[in-house]
């Protein structure tokens, strides 16, 4: 593929302009201001300008900077991990499940551990769906079980076993101190320990989740913002067919 080097753009191709803001844990003075500028230099910004500097009290100061990034990126070298499947609409998904599975697909979902943000998982699972995209409960070829908020991983796994689930959907919204990574690892360890990991299609979603991250954590797919039921459902049936064939 042809190289495609790009830089940030302010008002002229390759001017590299970026905006930056941060706090320094020192009061404002000429030295701290110069420190802010040097940080920008260290980041590889040419001609960085501290366009705003303000003392915040209690030994903190705030800075806004603009500078010109030296760095450039060759987009042609970037491979973004993506789950490979065709996104079908609801009817398409239903038809494919009926054809290939000959029974309903069982999907158990939850917002696990301490996380109580159910709006995301509800958006995927509840009848009503989100932004005009109906949720899995409305798919007649899917048995969708939404366990809701703050579900322990053990509980989720137990339910998945009980319901003979094909797919587990997990939502993780709180990411502070990377708690989502701990939670997700914990769930996949438990599945592993139960000997269920191979059997189940394991999917995670949330505002800071990418497919790449999900793969790193040993999940089958990850879905970020603006995902809808048909995306997950299309992935799941596709994956099911692929595994069956293998």
């Amino acid at each position: 593929m042809a190289e495609q080097w790009i830089k940030p753009y302010g008002d002229t191709q390759d001017d590299g302009r970026v905006q930056l803001s941060f706090t320094l844990p020192v009061p404002l003075d000429e030295v701290s201001k110069e420190g802010a500028r040097r940080l920008a230099l260290a980041m590889g910004l040419d001609e960085p300008a501290v366009v705003h500097a303000e003392d915040m009290g209690q030994g903190f100061s705030f800075y806004v900077l603009y500078g010109q990034s030296k760095h450039r990126i060759d987009l042609s070298t970037i491979q973004v991990a993506k789950p490979e499947f065709e996104v079908l609409d609801k009817d398409g998904v239903n038809a494919l499940i009926a054809e290939k599975m000959g029974r309903k697909m069982v999907v158990v979902g939850a917002c696990i551990e301490t996380d109580a943000h159910t709006v995301g998982i509800d958006a995927i699972m509840n009848m009503k769906g989100y932004n005009g995209h109906k949720g899995l409960e409305s798919y007649h070829e899917v048995r969708a079980i939404n366990m809701g908020a703050q579900v322990d991983s053990e509980e989720l796994v137990a339910r998945a076993i009980e319901e003979q689930a094909d797919v587990i959907l997990v939502s993780q919204v709180v990411t502070q101190k990377n708690i989502h990574l701990d939670n997700l690892t914990r769930l996949s360890d438990i599945l592993e320990a139960e000997g269920m990991r191979e059997r189940i299609i394991l999917v995670v979603g949330g505002p800071r989740i990418s497919h790449e991250l999900a793969k790193e954590l040993g999940y089958d797919a990850g879905f970020g913002p603006k995902s809808y039921a048909e995306d997950v459902a299309s992935f799941a049936i596709n994956e099911w067919i692929k595994r069956k064939a293998a």
């Binding site: 803001s21 941060f22 706090t23 303000e54 915040m56 009290g57 209690q58 030994g59 903190f60 705030f62 551990e113 301490t114 996380d115 109580a116 159910t118 709006v119 509800d122 809701g148 908020a149 703050q150 709180v174 990411t175 502070q176 101190k177 708690i179 505002p207």
Partner: protein, 500 residues
């Protein structure tokens, strides 16, 4: 002046329905107590500390009584009886129980009652002193004009929180809320000591309360403004947190009669019983309670569900009266959550905020910023927050939670808070008297919208009948036995902010 024509008879009818609903719940719930109510009672009587497994002593004593089938007569009497018997303090009794050195039995004689009463009197005395101390500090350093700027700190580490809270106060915060660690609401005990490891917030512990209170008193003196402290009085330990807050002079508590049921799947009975007790403590301690109606709008649409907010506020108001609170202690919640893409959304927002203002003219309304429709676009988010600030000043809200441009991203960085305060101060200042300079068109869209929401509220309240069981914490609900005794209500329900 910004003012809406509203049908007062409709407001009165809605309020009557709410009074009826709250009264019925109170009558039902008065027949039971809960483990955490009893633990709170013990805390107020001076029991504190943890055992070698970090289990709080109030839990150890209450579990002990529960095992022995004695909790239904109240923990106060059993401990007081043991105190009399052994000549110990309540704390010594609790330690002995935890160490397995002492087994409690019933004890309902007058001597035990007297001891319990004496401890309660002492405890109330301490809380009254804190109340007086608050008044004195406000007298000395003064306090901010309303809307008060309310800021959260949520680092997970009480010492970082303190740093940020001080900085926030210097920058203009009037109220500091320490956000609680994710998941604490479902712990059936209160963690102990100073903590540095929370997720999305810092554990609510008595020591953390104390540390933050001291820091805010100090910075308050420096900036010449009493800085209010708030925390979450909800979840499975609601009354205990109320007790801790009263002891450590918190000034506000997030304390809703229904939040736990709706958002934390906590059993209804448990919630209501805990509510009454914790509100009573808050009421006595002169603490403002903030209710959580704003949360409804994070899962429902803010236009469709506007009447549910008003209905809940009316019920919270009646529950508050039953627990002895005065209107100024009612921080009824609502929120700026209308979709920014909705044409004329700002008008509807004005209508809702002004409606609430007029229905509860004396309450300390708590107005929450946009959260649900905030995105990673921090620049647009900052403008959403500015319009929120504007509605707040135009409709004269009291407790103003600052919106953070990074709402959709992370718990606030120090600069997020700094910029949020600048935003609010700019809007409040440049529009200082706007509220008294504009009028809403009589019979116009804004007024019509407010009237419609009021009408929906009235019918909703008229239809509410009775409610179900289920949810977490039901095992902690204990039917009171005859002879059940708790020394606090008779003291707390008559004093507090109402009379002094």
């Amino acid at each position: 002046m910004a003012h809406l024509q509203l049908d007062q008879a409709r407001i009165d009818r809605a309020r009557d329905s709410a009074r009826r609903i709250a009264g019925r719940v109170f009558d039902d719930m008065d027949r039971s107590t809960t483990t955490t109510v009893e633990r709170a009672t013990l805390r107020l009587m001076g029991v504190d500390g943890v055992d070698e497994n970090q289990v709080p002593l109030p839990n150890r004593v209450v579990d002990h009584l529960l095992e022995r089938g004695l909790l239904n007569r109240g923990a106060a009497l059993a401990v007081a009886a043991a105190m009399n018997e052994q000549g110990w303090t309540a704390q010594q009794v609790a330690e002995a129980v935890a160490a397995g050195r002492l087994v409690l039995d019933g004890g309902d004689d007058t001597a035990a009652r007297n001891t319990a009463d004496a401890l309660a009197a002492q405890s109330c005395e301490h809380i009254a002193t804190q109340r007086a101390q608050r008044a004195a500090l406000i007298g000395n350093s003064g306090e901010a004009p309303q809307p008060w700027l309310y800021l959260i700190v949520a680092t997970g580490n009480i010492y970082e929180d303190i740093k940020q809270a001080r900085a926030a106060a210097e920058q203009g915060a009037d109220i500091v809320a320490v956000i609680r660690s994710t998941g604490q609401s479902l712990l059936d005990y209160v963690p102990y000591g100073a903590t540095t490891e929370g997720f999305g917030g810092t554990y609510a512990t008595q020591e953390n309360f104390r540390l933050m209170r001291a820091a805010l008193d100090e910075v308050g003196a420096k900036v010449g403004r009493y800085i209010r402290l708030t925390n979450y009085c909800s979840g499975l330990c609601m009354p205990e947190i109320a007790a801790m807050g009263a002891i450590e002079r918190l000034d506000m508590m997030l304390n809703d009669s229904m939040y736990g049921i709706i958002f934390r799947d906590i059993n209804m009975q448990r919630t209501f019983i805990d509510q009454f007790f914790s509100r009573m403590i808050n009421g006595y301690a002169g603490i403002i309670i903030n209710t959580g109606e704003d949360n409804y709008l994070t899962t429902a649409d803010a236009v469709d569900a506007a009447h549910t907010v008003l209905a809940s506020q009316m019920i919270n108001e009646q529950f508050a009266y039953l627990s002895g609170l005065v209107p100024e202690q009612m921080g009824l919640g609502h929120a700026f959550e209308i979709n920014p893409e909705l044409e004329n959304g700002f008008l509807w927002e004005l209508a809702h905020a002004q409606l609430v203002r007029q229905v509860f003219p004396e309450a300390s309304l708590k107005y929450m910023p946009p959260t649900k429709h905030m995105t990673g676009n921090i620049f647009k988010g900052h403008v959403q927050d500015a319009l929120f600030n504007m509605v707040s000043t135009v409709t004269k809200q009291n407790i103003h939670l600052l919106g953070m441009m990074t709402e959709a991203i992370h718990t606030p960085f120090i600069q997020d808070r700094f910029l949020a305060i600048q935003n609010a101060r700019y809007v409040f200042g440049t529009m200082r008297d706007l509220h008294s300079e504009i009028e809403f068109k009589s019979g116009g869209l804004i007024e019509q919208r407010a009237q419609a929401v009021l009408a929906e509220t009235e019918s909703m309240l008229a239809e509410i009948k009775r409610t179900a069981t289920g949810g977490k914490g039901l095992d902690g609900v204990i039917a009171k036995a005859p002879g059940y005794y708790n020394p606090f209500p008779k003291r707390m329900l008559q004093g507090g902010a109402r009379h002094g």
